[in-house]
């Protein structure tokens, strides 16, 4: 048995039964990472030694006969925009190449409290801006199903590591689809929680009103367990919700009889890949077979969601990223004569092209004379989208769409064409705009063997509903059981 192929709950069972130690599991995952990393390149920073120390602590606990929590001793990794005390947090940017936070993000604290061995920090698009990890300053992560293809992004390192077996689960962040799209591309499970459910403290901000941290896991059960461990009210985040604690695993009943499902018809028309469409329609059939009722609907502002998203996220990013000025921390240009030059050169040299593009768009959208035409209008569209969803959720328990309209594309295919790259977020952005929860789960493979994702959207704080639906689907399809076979350029398994 390869421990690195197991899910967190499978590992937990073995740990409890003392059939394996956490150190053994952790070492298995580390060995796997060492083998696959030369090809996959998902890690930016490795803290393997530290992970083994945590594993040892957990083993001592087990040896003493103490109870362990579901994630205890299960090795995990973190997207590199989650601040880790004493460990570099770069956001895959030259700007923060050597930045070491003196604090842990709220979710990192939670994971550490769980005694989950932390293996390291995972690659991403620079400041989470991108859909392929190609905008990372350091490297491009490869899709474990085909190393010529992207893993998706921005949490591409997370999805690839969980897929390849070099982490059992990971925490990513999702601003417009950054958890769900890579999860879809790599055939794993990715959940973006309701806005405010998970504290954003310590997650380096991209777009504050859209960012949410969430789990990337190998199945829905793991997803529910990880969510259990990171959901809590945080006084350091003003937008953190203070609601009664829920055990999300309780929702995993497998029963969705009588539930009403809405199919977003807008997304299964133009531009959708035939294999994706087939898998999606067959997913709808599966739900029907499980006793759910399926109906179609048309989104009112579907075609405005993407432009509104790029304006709002750009506007917020232009302000959020202004603090990277070379004064207090991070990169500082060596070439400057005065303050203006210090700012200009630092930011010109420290940020990559995509980040600069978004900052420019956002700055423009907020400028005097353009604010009403762009930012204000985008906020109005936001209201329309929220109202539209509210209306739909009076009729449906949840909504399904494909996570993306095509499967993972080739490295280099879209990086020169930002507009085409932005289309990756078509199905996912409206969820962030409306602050809703949504999950992507595997629902098939295309003719080339690349994973396809099913996107399940619920109303605010209905994580239980979408987990229940996802679990029922998973139990009856088992697409999650497939493990990627990592092959080198010559097509040989490594």
């Amino acid at each position: 048995m390869n421990y690195y192929d197991l899910t967190a709950h499978e590992i937990h069972e073995l740990l409890v039964k003392k059939e394996v130690t956490s150190v053994e599991v952790t070492n298995s995952v580390i060995e796997r990472a060492e083998k696959t990393e030369p090809y996959i390149e998902s890690y930016l920073e490795r803290t393997f030694e530290c992970a083994v120390n945590t594993a040892r602590k957990v083993d001592e606990k087990i040896a003493k006969g103490e109870d362990i929590s579901p994630l205890e001793g299960v090795p995990a990794a973190l997207k590199d925009n989650l601040c880790t005390k004493g460990v570099k947090t770069t956001c895959a940017s030259k700007m923060l190449e050597n930045f070491v936070p003196c604090y842990d993000a709220f979710v990192v604290k939670k994971i550490k409290e769980q005694n989950s061995p932390v293996l390291g920090k995972l690659n991403m698009d620079e400041f989470a801006m991108g859909s392929s990890t190609e905008t990372s300053y350091f490297k491009t992560t490869k899709n474990p199903y085909d190393i010529n293809k992207v893993p998706g992004g921005s949490s591409g390192g997370c999805a690839a590591a969980v897929c390849a077996g070099s982490a059992v689960y990971a925490l990513g962040s999702d601003t417009g689809g950054s958890i769900r799209q890579p999860a879809s591309f790599c055939g794993v499970v990715g959940l973006k929680p309701t806005y405010g459910l998970v504290s954003r403290f310590g997650c380096v901000a991209f777009a504050s009103s859209l960012d949410q941290i969430g789990p990337i896991t190998r199945d829905v059960t793991d997803c529910a367990n990880v969510l259990n461990s990171i959901v809590a009210h945080d006084e350091l985040d003003s937008t953190s919700l203070d609601i009664p604690k829920v055990d999300y695993t309780k929702a995993l009943t497998g029963d969705i009889r009588g539930m009403k499902i809405g199919i977003a018809a807008d997304y299964i028309q133009d531009g959708i890949n035939e294999d994706v469409k087939k898998a999606f329609l067959s997913a709808a059939e599966t739900f029907k077979a499980l006793g759910a009722q399926v109906g179609e609907y048309t989104m009112k502002a579907a075609k405005y969601a993407l432009p509104a998203y790029y304006i709002i996220s750009g506007a917020e990013a232009s302000s959020n990223l202004a603090r990277f000025d070379g004064i207090r921390y991070g990169y500082r240009s060596k070439k400057y004569e005065d303050l203006t030059e210090l700012y200009k050169n630092t930011r010109s040299e420290g940020f990559g092209a995509e980040v600069k593009r978004r900052i420019l768009v956002g700055t423009y959208a907020l400028s005097a004379g353009y604010y009403d035409a762009y930012y204000k209008k985008a906020q109005k569209i936001r209201t329309v989208i929220i109202n539209d969803f509210n209306e739909q959720f009076e009729k449906f328990d949840f909504i399904i769409t494909p996570t993306t309209l095509s499967t993972a594309f080739s490295i280099g295919e879209k990086i020169e064409n930002p507009l085409e790259m932005y289309l990756n977020d078509l199905c996912t952005v409206s969820v962030n705009i409306a602050g809703l929860p949504a999950i992507s789960i595997p629902c098939g493979f295309d003719s080339g063997g690349m994973p396809i994702g099913l996107h399940i959207i619920g109303k605010a704080l209905s994580e239980e509903t979408i987990l229940r639906a996802a679990y029922a689907f998973e139990q009856n399809t088992r697409f999650n059981k497939k493990r990627a076979i990592v092959k080198n350029k010559e097509g040989r398994e490594i």
Partner: protein, 478 residues
């Protein structure tokens, strides 16, 4: 040609909350640079602001004390600009939903009441401070002040002279001190003001070209800056110069204002609602609670002093403009001193000494009981009025009991008639010429004789008693 000046003020007051606006760092002044900082107020990546509820409460308190309406759902906005003292590269402020709106303060220039309307009071955070080294080769930043809560009070252009501006500023300061939301120490930068000014010909409706003056660090500077700038405007108009709408820096040392930037160079702050923060929800109960907690405000206290203690409106205002002074005044009265006398000391010699020392009423080193004792010593005739002034100046140096000072300096007045009579007899016999003059009807001569008697007592004789005894003595000899 006669002109009128139209002035609006923007006053920044630091709130005296224990902690900063968006983090838990202390707001205390005067620590080593960068000792009151944390990842949040240094804008480290991933950190988030959480609004200090006390700051909101203080702002509402100020608003209610200045007769404002309170906004029930205020938002906070980001004002974006780059400067090294601003770690986030945006200041969290309020653009279009200030926490308090539509208030006023009444002032009494020349004894007549005038209402100065307040457009808004909003909350925002302060920036850090740049420290330029002496050699000019490097600049350091101290972020201790960064994130300190401020309120900005913006008036309508209702002020028409530097005197009115001064009165208004004094009122604002008094109110903020009364309600204990700000220290209002201008020299520490906890109270600052910008002046918007324009002039127009009397009778004209249209406002003239406006300039904004920044860097005004005292009330005196505000008066000087307004006088200078309004004269500059008038001169430009009279001599056909061209006034432009611009921001100017007041240089108090030079006594001049200098152009900083024109309207075209005005920065675009790209304000937008801060997505990291939620609405500031203010309930009616909260407003009622804060309203109930308001102390007696300067205007009410002034009226009470006029009614209860018979002070003139001018005197009452002088006392009540400082909470400390007014409290001091009332404590003296409860020690038994006469209100009018206490008032004369406070706004006379004591105010003069404070002014010379550039000190505030809070710096008065002696207690109300000690001042009351001094007044009692004078009223009882133990010491003379002149000696009393000497004792007061000693009390400023060493906060000691007036009796001790009187004893130490030997200032006790001789009121013992037999002792004084002995001296008078000697004076009379030593000055036959003056006695002759007095008898011949030259009343002035008695003044000379009193002077001689006072000299003989080394100034300690009670002049009233000496005058009476001397007159008796001379009249007896007629």
């Amino acid at each position: 040609m006669s002109y009128e000046t139209v002035i609006g003020l923007e006053i920044h007051a630091e709130l005296s909350t224990a902690t900063k606006m968006y983090c838990g760092c202390p707001t205390s002044f005067g620590s080593e640079p960068n000792m009151h900082c944390c990842p949040i107020c240094l804008a480290m990546p991933g950190t988030l602001p959480v609004l200090n509820k006390k700051a909101v409460e203080y702002a509402i308190k100020a608003g209610l004390a200045m007769n404002c309406s309170i906004t029930d759902m205020g938002k906070q906005d980001r004002k974006n600009y780059f400067y090294p003292d601003l770690p986030k590269a945006y200041q969290i402020s309020q653009l279009d939903t200030p926490i308090c709106v539509n208030g006023y303060i009444d002032i009494t220039p020349g004894g007549k009441t005038k209402r100065i309307r307040i457009n808004r009071i909003h909350i925002e955070e302060d920036a850090g401070k740049l420290l330029h080294d002496a050699a000019g080769s490097s600049t350091l930043v101290d972020y201790n002040r960064g994130g300190t809560p401020l309120i900005e009070i913006v008036t309508e252009p209702d002020i028409s002279s530097s005197e009115e501006a001064r009165l208004f500023l004094e009122s604002v300061k008094a109110i903020l001190q009364y309600i204990e939301v700000s220290d209002c120490k201008m020299e520490q930068g906890s109270l600052r003001c910008d002046v918007n000014i324009s002039v127009r010909k009397k009778g004209e409706n249209k406002l003239g070209t406006r300039t904004e003056m920044k860097n005004i660090n005292s009330f005196k500077a505000a008066v000087r800056a307004i006088d200078f700038e309004s004269n500059r405007h008038i001169e430009e108009i009279e001599y056909g110069g061209k006034l432009i709408q611009e921001t100017r820096r007041w240089d108090d040392a030079k006594g001049e204002s200098f152009s900083m930037r024109g309207k075209e160079e005005a920065q675009d702050y790209r304000y937008f609602p801060d997505p990291d923060l939620v609405y500031i929800a203010v309930s009616d109960e909260m407003i009622a609670q804060i309203k109930n907690s308001l102390p007696e405000l300067p205007a009410a206290r002034k009226e009470r002093y006029i009614g209860e203690y018979n002070l003139t409106p001018y005197d009452a205002e002088q006392i009540t403009n400082s909470k400390h002074l007014a409290d001091f005044f009332e404590e003296c009265i409860s020690c038994g001193a006469t209100p009018k006398t206490v008032c004369n000391w406070l706004i006379g010699d004591i105010a003069k000494t404070l002014n010379e020392k550039n000190a505030e009423p809070a710096d008065i080193p002696f207690s109300p009981a000690q001042l009351s004792k001094l007044i009692e010593l004078i009223e009882k005739g133990t010491i003379s009025n002149t000696a009393g002034k000497k004792v007061l100046s000693e009390m400023f140096e060493k906060a000691r009991n007036p009796e001790e000072i009187v004893k130490e300096l030997g200032l006790v007045q001789i009121s013992d008639e037999s002792a004084l009579l002995r001296i008078i007899t000697e004076v009379v016999s030593a000055n036959p010429k003056s006695v002759e003059d007095y008898k011949a009807g030259k009343d002035k001569a008695i003044g000379y004789l009193i002077g001689q008697a006072m000299r003989a007592t080394k100034g300690q004789g009670n002049p009233q008693i000496i005058a009476k005894l001397l007159k008796d003595e001379l009249d007896k000899n007629i």
